[in-house]
Symmetry: C2
Subunit: 421 residues, 2 copies
Amino acid sequence: MSDRDPTPHTHDYRVLQREEIATLLAQWPAVAARLGGQPAQWTVQDVADGNLNAVYLVEGPLDGLCVKQSLPYVRVAKDDWPLSVERAYFESAYMQRTEPFVPGLVPQFLHFDATLRVIVMERLQPHTILRKSLIEGVRHADAARAVADFAAASLFHTSDISTPFERKFQDVALFSQNHDLQRITVDLVFIDPYQVHARNRYASPQLAAVAQSLRDDAALKAAVATFRNHYLAKPQALLHGDLHSGSVMVTQTDTRVIDGEFAWVGPIGFDTGMFIANLLMAWYAKAGHSGDTTGYRAWILEQIAVFWQRFHAQFLAHWNTHGGRGDGYPDSHFDATALPTVQAAFLQDVWADTLGFTAIEIIRRTIGFSQIADFGAVADVDLRARQQAAAIALARDLLLHPARYEDVQALVSAVPAFGLH
Amino acid sequence: MSDRDPTPHTHDYRVLQREEIATLLAQWPAVAARLGGQPAQWTVQDVADGNLNAVYLVEGPLDGLCVKQSLPYVRVAKDDWPLSVERAYFESAYMQRTEPFVPGLVPQFLHFDATLRVIVMERLQPHTILRKSLIEGVRHADAARAVADFAAASLFHTSDISTPFERKFQDVALFSQNHDLQRITVDLVFIDPYQVHARNRYASPQLAAVAQSLRDDAALKAAVATFRNHYLAKPQALLHGDLHSGSVMVTQTDTRVIDGEFAWVGPIGFDTGMFIANLLMAWYAKAGHSGDTTGYRAWILEQIAVFWQRFHAQFLAHWNTHGGRGDGYPDSHFDATALPTVQAAFLQDVWADTLGFTAIEIIRRTIGFSQIADFGAVADVDLRARQQAAAIALARDLLLHPARYEDVQALVSAVPAFGLH
């Protein structure tokens, strides 16, 4: 990954057909050896369920693999929304950059083909997507802790706390070229929901007044601008950039974070806030159902506290073990007596960003283009709109009254007051 | 300047001798035509007075030119401090990127040779360095206003307010490779003065206790860490990166900003703070002299107010005319009623950064490696140390009690209380 300016071999790129996958993999000895046997023995299954990529699971006599290819358009929109296939390069760069810090919390990276934009990685089985388990009411007891460990390690080790700025700015120079996906984030997350835009997709008339109230609220848009500008101009660490419950695969004993194609050097709270927001929306999407979801919803709120507290503790643990070698807080300036004060201030700032990005993620997932299956699973459109309006009411309070939420306990305790009434 | 990853042709680089300059320039038709006549008619004068570069003034029958070559070491330290010659590439990139926004406030860029790291630019005559005029007590009435215009235009037009992030991140990707000079800034400005380091150069024993008190002050070092992390991770706009009074050339009717080799995408307040700090130090360096400097010193403080107020007004004027097209504060979110509130908040944040960087610049210029001629001109070492201690006392108050300095008038009014007693 020494090439910091990826050469666009776009003339040789083509969208692969399922029938070609085995022949392709057979070219790469390490990949072929991992599958074992002969290509004719390999089965290839198309399992894409995201918006942006083709995904295949390949099974051989010895092992299975996952093959992911960038498509030159947003999948749901096909040719209507063209998109550079370069993002596979950035996803592979992110995997290789972060895997040393988070072994066992991500699928193992195996191969990248720069022409076809194909990533080959470990196949996760029998994992399910965390979002699906939340919708189904399954408790994966270790998921929040594991995602916290992933976030703490990947963010800490790519920050100015642990890393001389020369190394960090290799990441900045590289990932700041990931324009296409950053443009999606800037527009869909930070801009569209606060203006009239054809891409926005909210229930109308149910949420029309709520959407209008967001567009009319200058103080809210000023708060959003603060966090949008942090996203654009606060490169604290290499972000996953899309750390929601759909980017986490779980079993009862294993948790892996996938899909780092939105990687970007930005504010740490963007990753943590997006994860918390998606847990909160899982909670809202269970409101008002006839079945008894009380216990499960309480468990979700607990997981939010587990996530933040574990992230906080692990980030500090990394700092105390590996800190001081970066330019942010050098050992020569802060001894063991002085360090806790600056650490607390740093993490309080991350918490403030976390709250802001939590709120913004909730708003964009309920008003904007990219809706989530949690709410999609609620068949009663009126009920769903009431859930979403309640979530937006919380988001608005987080943006306008952040001082009410000084820590994660304050957040978790306040959530029920913004439930359905 | 489309090549964002400069190819290091270092094998062909060599340090030029004065005798070679005319032959070199004769190769470049536009440059030769500007000088006029034949190379044999051109006179070449070595005028280097900085630390990092060779500088020649070339006079021909028609016009003169300035030729600047990066040297592969810090000039004062010769081979003891090797330094990449790449910085000429970044200086030329900065000149070409910013000149359209600040015509008439910078020397005209004419040519860059990527092999020899030679920049050819307009020769400024009969300009003098602003720092020299401040030392001599000359009033260049327009300098502060012009530098404010330069800062407002160059910073505004490279920020997320005016520019889609895709364009800004071309600057980020390019200038984040300017590692060598950024390392100098990080070490000399932000780290060395707060630890024992062989590079620090302060009068001892006169300032030994002051230097020790900086190293012992955990709250001060925590405040410095905040601004160091802003320098490292708050890319608001393309900075000049070294905007002190030695980077400004003046006549009574003309002001030009030179020496952009420290260019870097960072916090706007870094440029404004460095300029204010150097005006403040000019004020301190005139304290306790026998001659009557009262009037001149009052004029310096006025220039600080002129600088900030003009910067503030011009930044807003650019915003009102050219804003809304960037991703920071899009027109679709902020109408004319809502905009003043977010503008005020943005500029208040720039002011907070300005204060912090002002303080840090004062400390590094009195304790650290890179001392300034303003104090150097004070022959009485004890007097100089008292001036420097007074300036450091102000700097300390700016860092520890920023709320006392809510605007530039508060700063200017407070300065005399930190004078010599």
